[in-house]
């Protein structure tokens, strides 16, 4: 995998003008830069100016124990060959109760629909989004914010509860 070149981390630091100890970690397959919500928009603007011209995926991850929701914008470039091999994850963490993140759809239009999806699944309120309404789910399901960890989905186990005779006669698959 050619994504672990040290050059990209340095380049990111210079693009975003971050302090040397700012958290830019080289992960498996992408480089994550975590920024606080206030400076998210101008970090995105700098990235776009530097050549990261589109967002591949907008992800939200729910950490109930840390009471935080992390929103990651995986951005990369299509036009600039030197950057198209790398993916940058611009991450911010907001508290879990009423997560509001400045919407980047004005900078990257490609993030618009995925921000709507994160709104309906996690309840992350992207302020400044042109029309923030549920994309995939119906409004009442979206109100339950299904992808949060507290929306439990119970899984079945490996063993049948009914006994041999009961199963052979009634064939109840419990």
């Amino acid at each position: 995998m050619s994504t672990s070149a040290q050059g990209i981390v340095e380049r990111l630091r210079s693009i975003l003008g971050l302090a040397p100890e700012a958290p830019v970690e080289q992960l498996k397959g992408y480089v994550e830069v975590s920024v606080d919500p206030a400076s998210l928009r101008d970090a995105a603007a700098k990235l776009k100016a530097a050549g990261f011209d589109h967002v591949k995926s907008v992800t939200a991850v729910d950490y109930p124990d840390k009471k935080q929701i992390k929103v990651i914008y995986h951005a990369s470039s299509m036009l600039d060959e030197s950057l198209s091999g790398y993916v940058v994850g611009l991450a911010t963490s907001v508290d879990r109760d009423n997560p509001t993140v400045p919407s980047l759809s004005s900078i990257w239009v490609s993030a618009e629909f995925q921000e709507r999806e994160m709104y309906e699944f996690f309840g992350v309120n992207f302020e400044g989004h042109p029309d923030l309404r549920p994309l995939l789910l119906t409004p009442d399901v979206a109100a339950q914010r299904p992808l949060r960890k507290d929306f439990k989905v119970v899984e079945e186990d490996d063993y049948l509860k009914s006994t041999y005779d009961e199963y052979t006669s009634t064939k109840r698959w419990v």
Binding site: M1, K28, Y30, M78, L79, S84, G85, S110, D131, V153
Partner: protein, 414 residues
Amino acid sequence: MGTEGSQVQSLPGMQVHPLKKNLYEVAIGPAHPGSGHMRILVRVEGDVMVEVDPDIGFVHRTMEKLSEGRDWMKNIPLFERMAILDACNVTLPYVEAVEKLLDVDPPERAKYLRTLLCEINRVASHLYGFGIFGVFLGHSTLYMWAFGDREVFVELAERLTGARLTHTYPMFGGVRRDMPDDFGQHVRKAAAYMRRRLDEYAKIFLLNPNIRSRLEGVGVVSKSRAVELGLAGPNVRASGVRYDVRLAEPYEAYDRVDFEIPIYEEGDSLARAWQRVEEIKQSLSIMEQAVDWLEKHPREGFVHEKFWKTAPPIYKKVYAGEVPYAGKYRVKMIPLYASLKVPAGRSFARTESAHGEITYYVESDGKDVPYRVRLVSGSYRNVIAFKYVMPGHRLADLPAIYGSFDYFPPEWDR
């Protein structure tokens, strides 16, 4: 730049809301004769579309939520249901992301086998796309031809993996079957047949003046617009953008196979159709090169030794085909797969599926179920084209543009 003041608070379909003066709302779908389940709310002024709002989610199977409850290995058949006609390309990035977390690099033969199946699926998926394209333009011959010829590649996949569509072929560390003995000449025959058929497709469809006039200059996406909207796959390369995951970040055996990435400059529906024809040709040549390599090299190394070293002797007998009813070259899995625990970490992987670039963000906290899997498919990234590319065209252009973007509703709903 959002649409001008359409502050519609709730889902348009659900509530009546004041229309502008003479806009006429037509709902196309959800049970649509051509594609799958999707609804497009089109506000039409006369015959020209003013506002197009895709109302998707009819085939949403909550794959991201389900994946958080299932073991690592069980998510492969789950994610495959996103686009079963392109099963290998869709599950491969998930397998690669987890392999990155496991620090396991599949052996050379497994990489070539994966590339081979990915290309067979790409051709089958492009042919499916041409079939739907034909239905949308009323050209039933192309629909029947595309689906008929797709049978050749589905048969190839069935010979290689034992299942027609849902192969679940890649697994962590390798693949589940090795190539049968006579598979090479099957691939060469299928490739020769398909090359001849592609010229006939062009003659009856792309060079047919009736279809050309429907496609030329329709749904034009400029180079900068395509990049700004973040479209994916052939739709981007048809607008002149030189971007392909197999070129930017070669995965599996794509850096050892020489092929060309066709780029078209026009960016209209016709260019997207020609783009797919050229990509099928390239896929056929990749398939042939992969099969040549596989036939020349010895039959070992289809699974990483970490998962094969501790295999009991019966596994070798099953692979050799001595067990009578077990078929030949079947790779058995060691029971470790059933309770695999992936070390904590976050990883991101992307491949070039037939509908476009597909990306997985996998986060694990060391347990036997993933903590979070975020998957964005090619069709999902192209949905934004409804809203920004379609307005201004005629209502009758909607099928032409829809078909040229090669949408697959189950893939964008996930």
